[in-house]
């Protein structure tokens, strides 16, 4: 079934949260903010940090990635602690080998679906058939997982951060030089891309989605991770993610 985005929900959220919600946030019609009786599982966040080489390749940095992953998990836990523990939120931080095949598949699926949302909803290549519509789903796999685990919702988070190598920085500087003489082709620098989805495990549908694309930010630091997690999740209606001490 095609579900239309309900602007009312967005306006409501705006009023509830009392701050400007970024425009990219999407909810499906009929999205009822999650209440305290429902159980949410926060999936192991998919985090990686790369260095952008002089030639523009992304090269994974193991140390940065491991630090950033810990930072993001800590941010999620801190956010949860701040909001009180009334609603039942579980943050999985299991390592790869103790994860079930289903969880691995779900995380993989979320990455693919999330990238599709970014591509077809929030890029110049927006699909006309997705205009005014938010109807992505993780399908049966998510429903089955909900039945097996007893959770009502699953929150997925995907984050990639990258930083220019020193060679790239010099190259950029030379590129800017070109601008002074009229041929302006400055190579791009590192950037941050992250998205989060709330999935209703009764239907498998993505009922809420938010993303961040920025040339700034640094999730290698705890502060940077807090900013990212806050930007991504703060706009979700209050009971959706936490419950401020009520």
């Amino acid at each position: 079934m095609v579900i239309r985005v309900m602007p009312i929900v967005a306006i409501l959220l705006l009023l509830l949260t009392g701050c400007a919600a970024p425009q990219q946030q999407q909810t499906s019609v009929g999205f009822v903010p999650v209440n305290a009786r429902q159980k949410i599982v926060v999936m192991r966040p998919d985090v990686a940090v790369d260095v952008l080489t002089t030639g523009g390749m992304l090269e994974r940095r193991e140390d940065w990635t491991l630090t950033a992953r810990d930072n993001v998990i800590a941010s999620l836990e801190a956010m949860q602690a701040r909001r009180g523990a009334k609603n039942r939120v579980t943050i999985t931080r299991t390592s790869a080998d103790s994860d079930s095949d289903t969880l691995i598949e779900l995380n993989q699926l979320h990455e693919v679906v999330g990238q599709a949302v970014l591509m077809h909803k929030f890029s110049p290549a927006t699909l006309p058939t997705k205009e005014g519509v938010f109807d992505w789903t993780l399908g049966e796999l998510a429903v089955r997982y909900g039945e097996e685990s007893g959770y009502d919702y699953a929150l997925f988070l995907y984050a990639r951060d990258s930083f220019s190598s020193s060679g790239r920085v010099v190259l950029q500087a030379v590129g800017y030089l070109g601008c002074f003489v009229g041929v302006c082709a400055a190579p791009s620098g590192g950037s941050q891309t992250a998205f989060a989805s709330l999935v209703d495990l009764k239907t498998g549908n993505l009922v809420w989605f938010n993303y961040v694309k920025s040339p700034e930010g640094d999730i290698r630091t705890q502060e940077g991770a807090d900013v990212l997690v806050g930007t991504l999740l703060d706009t979700m209606s209050e009971p959706a993610y936490g419950n401020k001490g009520s």
């Binding site: 002089t54 390749m57 090269e59 598949e105 030379v174 009229g182 302006c184």
Partner: protein
């Protein structure tokens, strides 16, 4: 991280500047040494990053529903790898993947992937060893990281050429000469650099071929099995092309191919095998019986995958090629299926003949009896047809189509 996966086959598709018959056959380097020891762990930052990025891929492969999780085949393959390397090989982790395409790949971390399409075509253990040895060559010669580093250096150089050309063009355009020459020169240089990346990859493939065939000879496998694989593959592709009324064209004879032309590989491996055989005192063996015993339980599935591709030229070639070791009920049944699905003039009769032949073998699958039964009914042999269908139901009492078959028998 792109380019860290090394395939056994898979040439690049594009063919902007096709060339063929470039190389002359040569004896490959048989003195290559492994660059890493057992239990190797990377230390360099870039290599650690590459390994880290592979974790997620391996996790996904592990959990993939496409994976063929068969302990017997797994341990048999492990045995061949140990035989090849003459020691226990804890660092190479094998995953069998259900894909009808002939291919295998090696990841820098020791994750090796073998497609079922490859298992379907291999004729003996020596051929299997040739593939495994080639993949081991990519691993022990550290090809992924070396290629990555080469590409990183070259893309950096290309970026500098472009940036310098931009500035140069800008400066020049302010004079009366215009700046187009600068951009043109940089793009020429960068094209050459790009081509050199593909050449680097082709050289690595040749090196992996060399490494693999040397391991084979040392382990007592007949080294000519390696070139035989390419011979089979080229012939199969010719058969497939002919069926489609097309001329056979090797996809890997292009300047932008990551792999050397198949024919060159075949010839190089053939010459190297002759050279190695002359130096070896071992009586080389292809261990065909061992292979046939290991693959027998899976042949039905492997053939089914291939036949359903509906590539009758290739499928018929494969069935006939496997039949060189003796026809079986399973092979005849699949031969019949290929004709039945192709459906050209005369194919119905050919299929009926193949199904009838299949049922004369003790290993005839239940499906062969059903196919034979329907063929007989179509030919008007009602009594024989009913008997054959009856035999199908006896062999496969829980068949999903049992109701339909009974209905047909009652007509």
């Amino acid at each position: 991280m792109q380019g860290s996966r090394r395939h056994f086959l898979l040439g690049a598709g594009g063919c902007a500047a096709c060339m063929s018959g470039l190389g002359h056959a040569r004896v490959l380097d048989t003195e290559l040494q492994p660059l890493i020891d057992v239990g190797y762990e990377p230390v360099d930052t870039d290599e650690r990053g590459m390994w880290q990025s592979m974790e997620k891929i391996e996790e996904t492969i592990q959990a993939s529903p496409q994976r063929l999780n068969n302990p017997e085949l797994q341990s048999y393959t492990g045995g061949v790898i140990e035989q090849l390397l003459g020691q226990e090989v804890p660092d190479l982790r094998l995953y069998l993947i259900r894909s009808a395409m002939f291919n295998a790949s090696m990841f820098p971390t020791g994750m090796m992937i073998i497609n079922t399409g490859l298992l379907a075509r291999i004729r003996n253990e020596a051929q299997y060893a040739a593939v495994l040895g080639h993949e081991a060559g990519h691993y022990y010669r550290k090809h992924s990281i070396e290629r990555y580093r080469s590409i990183r250096t070259k893309t950096a150089a290309m970026s500098w050429f472009s940036a310098a050309a931009s500035v140069g063009a800008g400066v020049n355009s302010m004079s009366s000469y215009g700046g187009a020459d600068w951009i043109y020169a940089a793009s020429l240089i960068n094209t050459a650099v790009t081509m050199s990346m593909f050449q680097f990859s082709r050289n690595q493939e040749a090196e992996a071929d060399a490494y693999g065939i040397t391991l084979m000879a040392k382990a007592g496998y007949a080294p000519d099995a390696a070139s035989k694989i390419w011979e089979q593959l080229i012939e199969e592709r010719k058969a497939s092309a002919e069926q489609h009324n097309k001329r056979y064209k090797d996809r890997s004879t292009s300047l932008v191919s990551t792999h050397p032309p198949s024919e060159d590989r075949m010839k190089d491996l053939g010459d190297t095998a002759a050279y190695l055989s002359g130096r070896s005192s071992l009586a080389p063996t292809d261990r065909r019986d061992e292979w046939l015993a290991a693959i027998a339980p899976h042949r039905a599935m492997l053939l089914d995958e291939q036949v359903k591709l509906n590539d009758p030229g290739a499928s018929l070639y494969l069935v006939n090629s496997l039949a060189q070791d003796g026809w079986t009920g399973l092979l005849r049944y699949n031969e019949g299926e290929i004709y039945r699905m192709r459906g050209e003039a005369g194919d119905r009769e050919k299929a009926a003949e193949a199904f009838a032949a299949a049922t004369t073998f003790p290993d005839a699958p239940a499906d062969a009896w059903r196919a034979h039964g329907y063929a007989l009914l179509k030919a008007g042999k009602v009594e024989d047809g009913r008997n054959a269908l009856g035999k199908y139901l006896v062999m496969n009492p829980d068949a999903k189509d049992a109701g339909v078959v009974r209905f047909t028998m009652a007509q």
